[in-house]
């Protein structure tokens, strides 16, 4: 029981990842897909941040009297990854807006059917 609890942040990661992944796959609504994608990415961010935490470590700012610091590198990486995530969300939402203008709907399941043509 203790081992399960001591890894609770990783459990959160797994749960969030599955919820996000489910949203991406199962939802037809494009906004919900983008939200799912966000959840999915966020879970990975938490994974990285968790890895950077060192038990008893302090915030990684050099000051007197502190011997043990948490690893700052994952934070820096995830800052970049968050920027990437925001950019992805922005592009995804922009596309959703354009699709809404072009089709009048953002339910992925029904789109494309009305275009006659050559899809398999």
């Amino acid at each position: 029981m203790m081992t399960v609890l001591s890894f609770f942040n990783y459990w959160i990661v797994v749960v969030l990842m599955m919820i996000g992944f489910y949203c991406v796959i199962a939802r037809g609504n494009m906004v919900k897909k983008v939200m799912g994608l966000n959840l999915f990415q966020t879970s990975v961010f938490i994974l990285f941040i968790s890895a950077g935490k060192i038990v008893g470590g302090s915030t990684p700012i050099v000051r007197e009297g502190v011997e043990l610091y948490s690893n700052p590198l994952p934070h820096v990486l995830i800052l970049t990854a968050i920027v990437v995530g925001v950019a992805t969300t922005a592009v995804g939402l922009a596309l959703t807006v354009r699709i809404n203008e072009a089709y009048g709907s953002i339910e992925d399941d029904h789109l494309g059917d009305e275009d006659d043509g050559d899809e398999q």
Partner: protein
């Protein structure tokens, strides 16, 4: 300035140029800036290749020595891919002017800025020796690509782009998870450093999971069956120039990343043992070859037909990888290069037809052989290369692939490769038959020959297809060096 110092500029020049480009008005200047930046980038990549084939080049950003700082680490393998990417972009751009003017009439500054970002991202992935850096560049190029695809004039381009965004982001996040696991286990992100530290910890489920995540993530970007679903629509509805560019570069870079991880970081004697990777890749490759060729044979839209053909061709490359030998990897690299040549030429020819006729359906090709002989002859000749007729580049890579299969006594693979080649004849021949042996229906407008600005780049590529089918010293030499760099000795300096 030494070559090592020059090398990062092939990424930086397009990156900076994209900023300039985004601000430029009109139709001429964005294109001109892009052309200059791309050619500069290609020239730098061309200078880098011979040097990198001799000795692995390493450039530390901001003078932070690796593994702490970010490092560009270039050996024969990535120099080869970088030259391919930058070179293809440089050849495609002169072709782009006319086609983009027609298909993306407005806000070309933004369009070309996206193109430069995509190029810069792809080159960054290729040259970087830092795992997280690869992820960032992957996302830069992917995001730019989504934007480029959405520029297609058909509204289905938006849908294609959105679906690609979803699948692409999932793939990239998988890669990120894999990299995260590796970092957790080793505390480093530098590829060479990872390769050194991994052997101590590699018998853990975390590292095995990392390998699986990275392969699936890159398999998505690579369009390896069954993760190829985004590709046909994306290629079909993107503006012709974007398709031309992507077909020659994007999947190739994804394959390179997969190879870099599987071979250099994890070492093949581990990664092919701990997972049944060879078997899985071989089955997926063969399935991709068959499914792609099969579906291609029945496509009425020629752009989509070529897209499915790409799925099949990716199968050939993965097949070469799955054989885990120098010859197999050489075949994979050869086909990576040669397929870029032939598919780019084919998409250019189709794009030229679309430019003149307005559509790329098989029925619109009827009778075009007489009115657009140069375009259609280019298509036919590049098609011969896809089929793998001797004296074309396609023959050389298939020859090596068959050699690799025979070295391991895999007779059935030879048979499968030949059968899929016969299927390629069928789908290429449909176009040839329509173009030369059917009359143009009266209700379709007659189309004249395309302008030289479109024809010359197409024919340059067709000529390259034959040149590299006859003079194989450069390609086979480069591919062998690349294969040896990956299989032999990892990234030792």
């Amino acid at each position: 300035m030494t070559i090592t110092e020059l090398m990062p500029f092939s990424v930086l020049v397009p990156l900076i140029a994209s900023l300039v480009c985004a601000l430029l008005p009109g139709r001429f200047w964005p294109w001109a800036v892009t052309l200059v930046a791309t050619i500069t980038s290609a020239v730098i990549a061309a200078i880098t290749l011979p040097a990198a084939a001799q000795v692995t080049l390493s450039y530390a950003f901001g003078n932070w020595p690796p593994p702490i700082g970010i490092e560009y680490r270039v050996d024969a393998a990535n120099a080869f891919v970088a030259l391919l990417v930058a070179g293809m972009a440089a050849v495609a751009l002169p072709w782009a002017k006319k086609s983009v003017d027609r298909e993306v009439p407005e806000r070309q500054g933004a369009f070309y800025a996206l193109f430069l970002l995509a190029l810069s991202g792809l080159l960054g992935i290729t040259l970087s020796g830092d795992a997280f850096n690869i992820f960032v560049f992957l996302e830069i190029s992917s995001l730019a690509t989504y934007g480029l695809i959405a520029h297609g004039s058909d509204r289905r381009a938006l849908l294609a782009s959105f679906r690609y965004l979803i699948m692409g982001t999932v793939g990239a996040t998988f890669l990120l998870i894999g990299i995260g696991f590796l970092y957790v286990m080793t505390g480093t992100l530098n590829l060479a450093d990872l390769a050194e530290r991994l052997p101590e910890v590699r018998d853990t489920s975390t590292v095995r999971a990392a390998l699986a995540f990275i392969i699936v993530g890159m398999g998505l970007k690579l369009a390896m069956l069954p993760l190829h679903l985004w590709l046909p629509n994306a290629y079909t509805y993107a503006p012709s120039f974007v398709t031309v560019f992507l077909a020659g570069t994007a999947t190739k870079v994804a394959l390179y990343v997969m190879l870099r991880f599987v071979f250099t970081v994890f070492a093949p004697d581990w990664s092919f043992v701990v997972l049944p990777l060879s078997t899985v890749l071989m089955i997926l490759a063969v399935a991709g070859m068959f499914a792609g060729s099969w579906v291609a044979m029945f496509q009425p839209n020629i752009k989509r037909m070529l897209a499915y053909s790409s799925v099949a061709q990716v199968g050939y490359m993965v097949l070469g990888v799955s054989l885990v030998s120098i010859v197999g990897l050489t075949a994979a690299f050869l086909h990576l290069f040669n397929h870029a040549l032939m598919k780019t030429a084919l998409f250019m020819a189709v794009g030229t037809v679309i430019y003149q006729v307005g559509s790329g359906h098989l029925k619109d090709f009827r009778g075009l052989g007489r009115t657009m002989p140069w375009t259609l002859t280019a298509f036919a000749l590049a098609g011969l290369s896809i089929i793998g007729v001797p004296l074309t580049a396609g023959f050389v890579s298939k020859w090596y692939l068959i050699q690799a299969a025979l070295d391991q006594g895999q007779w059935f693979l030879v048979v499968l490769i030949l059968i899929t080649s016969l299927m390629a004849i069928v789908y290429i021949w449909r176009v040839i038959e329509a173009a030369w042996f059917q009359e143009r229906p009266g209700n379709q407008p007659a189309a004249g020959e395309a302008p030289l600005a479109l024809l010359i780049p197409t024919w340059v590529l067709v000529a390259l297809n034959f040149y590299f089918g006859i003079d194989t010293r450069l390609t086979v030499g480069g591919a062998t060096a690349a294969a040896e760099a990956l299989l032999g000795g990892g990234m030792a300096p």
